[in-house]
């Protein structure tokens, strides 16, 4: 019988059914971060329960780490206790920690694939809602809470209800300066913030096949912003070439054997999805959010929508967003003055994200009065960017060039904006107060963010690049 790739991965990892009818799904790789891990270490110690597979468990310090050069545990005082608890817990339990000073430290969703800790067709869990980022290499990843994380540590399985299957077919060829971020924002706008609730989404179609792995990760990263349980792209030659020789992957003959298996990781012809959606990406322009949830999106040449153009069930939310964002309906997005630009996060801080942003910034200056930051997604990304001279380009233009971490995405490390500031950000959530009290966040791609930093106003990168801005 024809099966979807989701079914193949799920069925392989099905250990059995629990007494309460839930499926026990084996988790091949589990990655912890310091904000939540201490709960599990404390609870398991109290219960006298050992960690079943510390060798399949990894840990990073990412949410609370400062981004200033020369940072240590105390640079962000509200992170100190978390960093130390993580160090202590991983040491006691024999878990490999990518600590604040580790050359491979970074955001979990960036570090795990870049080191080959995640694999095509493998299951993966992180106590963080953006876990499905690693779906970009064909892994099936679940975000979870602290209790589920503790459960995985004790058992190496998750007790889940089988989700439904959705295929999002993204057709067409992306235009210049249009990337996965723009595609994902448009898809969220079309489906809504709960449009994929209960589903695992397989991203397919020509636009996805043409995307490099880093963009596929951006696409899968934003899956949770439309409520998806998980999201992935079936692996292909682009994936295998990207993964080859990453340190935690099998080598030599074992690589060949793994590769042979990975080539079978496709959805069979004729396999049925519970829901199929399509999006033609050929005519897509750069996208940007105008409101306070990630579905409130327009093209860069668009305007804040009129209430009459908004679905009645969404109108109250829109009115509240207008007020919070300080925007009137009908206002063009392009040209709005900004105070801040942030390029970073698990969504858009891998090396190619920084390369395309640097290409926009090269030889230009950040507009007067704008605070612009680049925070690489991992210390490896930072090192590679520096080797390529990207840090120079950003610094010469007036950007802050930071140490790796989650930084201003959630503001958990002290990096945040001031009340009332307007910020263009390459992150994933434009929720009220997320980047600081009363900060007005517009989500966009790295090139849109870079062009905005230069212009001092929300900018269409295509115009800046052609010299007309």
């Amino acid at each position: 019988m024809s099966r979807t790739l989701f079914d193949k991965i799920w069925d392989f990892h099905l250990v059995g059914q629990r007494a309460d009818g839930r499926d026990l799904i084996y988790i091949d790789r589990h990655v912890l971060h310091e904000l939540h891990a201490h709960h599990a270490f404390a609870l398991l110690e109290k219960q006298g329960r050992p960690i079943h597979r510390p060798d399949l468990t990894f840990a990073v310090q990412d949410h609370t780490v400062a981004t200033k050069a020369g940072r240590d545990d105390d640079t962000n005082p509200s992170g100190t206790a978390f960093l130390r608890a993580m160090r202590e817990g991983t040491r006691k339990n024999g878990i490999r920690l990518f600590d604040i000073d580790d050359p491979e430290q970074g955001i979990s969703h960036v570090v795990a694939p870049e080191l080959g800790i995640v694999l095509p067709g493998a299951t993966h869990a992180v106590p963080d809602s953006h876990a499905s980022t690693v779906g970009g290499v064909g892994a099936l990843a679940f975000g979870c809470g602290a209790s589920e994380m503790t459960h995985i540590l004790a058992t190496q399985v998750m007790a889940l209800k089988r989700p439904k299957r959705m295929r999002a077919r993204l057709d067409g060829r992306l235009g210049a300066h249009v990337s996965a971020k723009d595609v994902a924002l448009r898809l969220i706008a079309e489906l809504g913030v709960a449009g994929a609730r209960g589903y695992v989404v397989e991203y397919a179609g020509a636009a996805v096949r043409a995307m490099p792995i880093e963009q596929r990760m951006t696409l899968c990263n934003l899956n949770i912003e439309m409520g998806g349980r998980s999201g992935f792209v079936a692996p292909d030659d682009t994936t295998f070439a990207w993964l080859a020789r990453r340190p935690y992957l099998p080598q030599g003959a074992m690589w060949d054997r793994a590769l042979e298996h990975w080539r079978t990781l496709t959805t069979d012809d004729g396999a049925v999805f519970d829901r199929d959606v399509t999006l033609d990406c050929g005519a897509l322009e750069p996208q940007i959010t105008w409101g306070t949830d990630p579905s409130q999106v327009v093209g860069i040449s668009g305007r804040v929508p009129e209430p009459s153009a908004i679905d009645p069930s969404r109108r109250a939310a829109a009115e509240s967003a207008f007020a919070y964002m300080g925007l009137e309906p009908g206002t063009p997005l392009a040209g709005l003055p900004v105070n801040r630009v942030f390029i970073g996060s698990c969504t858009n801080a891998r090396l190619p994200d920084l390369e395309v942003a640097a290409a926009v910034v090269r030889g230009r200056r950040v507009a007067k009065g704008v605070v612009a930051m680049v925070v690489p997604g991992s210390s490896t990304v930072k090192r590679e960017a520096e080797a390529a001279g990207l840090d120079r380009i950003f610094r010469d233009a007036g950007f802050f060039w930071g140490e790796s971490g989650c930084s201003m995405c959630a503001g958990g490390n002290g990096d945040r904006g001031e009340p009332g500031e307007r910020c263009v950000s390459t992150t994933n959530r434009n929720f009220e107060n997320r980047q600081g009290a009363k900060v007005r966040t517009h989500l966009a791609s790295p090139v849109t963010a870079a062009a905005t930093a230069i212009a001092g106003r929300i900018a269409d990168v295509r115009q800046l690049q052609s010299g007309s801005a």
Partner: protein, 208 residues
Amino acid sequence: MQPFTSHAGIAAPLLKDDINTDQIAPVLHSRSLKEDYKAMLFHRARQREDGSEDPNFVLNKPQFHNAAILVTGNNFGAGSSRESAVWSMVANDIRVIVARSFADIYRENCLQNGVLPIVLEPEVADAFTARVVAADGAAPFTVDLVTQRISGPGGPDISFEIAAADRVRLLEGLDDIGLTLKQMDEIVSWEQRAAAAQPWVQSARDNR
């Protein structure tokens, strides 16, 4: 986990869609390993810009100070997976949330902490919401998981559906990890089979 059989108290209407976990349990400037979850609940929404209490926020109204049931809209608990967004409910003795729908991770986190997530059929939800608004905190509602009924002022009892397994788990306060550990033999034999079929998955070593 504290078993859930029934829970009675004031029902507070927070009638908005897409309330996310950043709103329910905001990240505060000073953080510690032992957070004050009681104070965390809707911390930002409870305050006006000058830091004073916002008298218009539903949980700040005198009649809802001791709310035990929260009635809300679609997609409740979207966003971050932080479990503090459920712990802060428990810390305030809110152990029933009646929403039009829940975000997946949030619903799981409720079940892990003895909080009953209820979704009613749309027409029933409309009627129940109207009763909660009309009661305005003057009389309590009772949510009984044994009989799967909600009773209270303004009308007859309302029955609600919940997956049988989730019901049992809440009723018995089952230790989720303990339940799975009963099948440790199966987990270990799965590992042995996987190690033979896909050895690269059962080993995660730095090959440098």
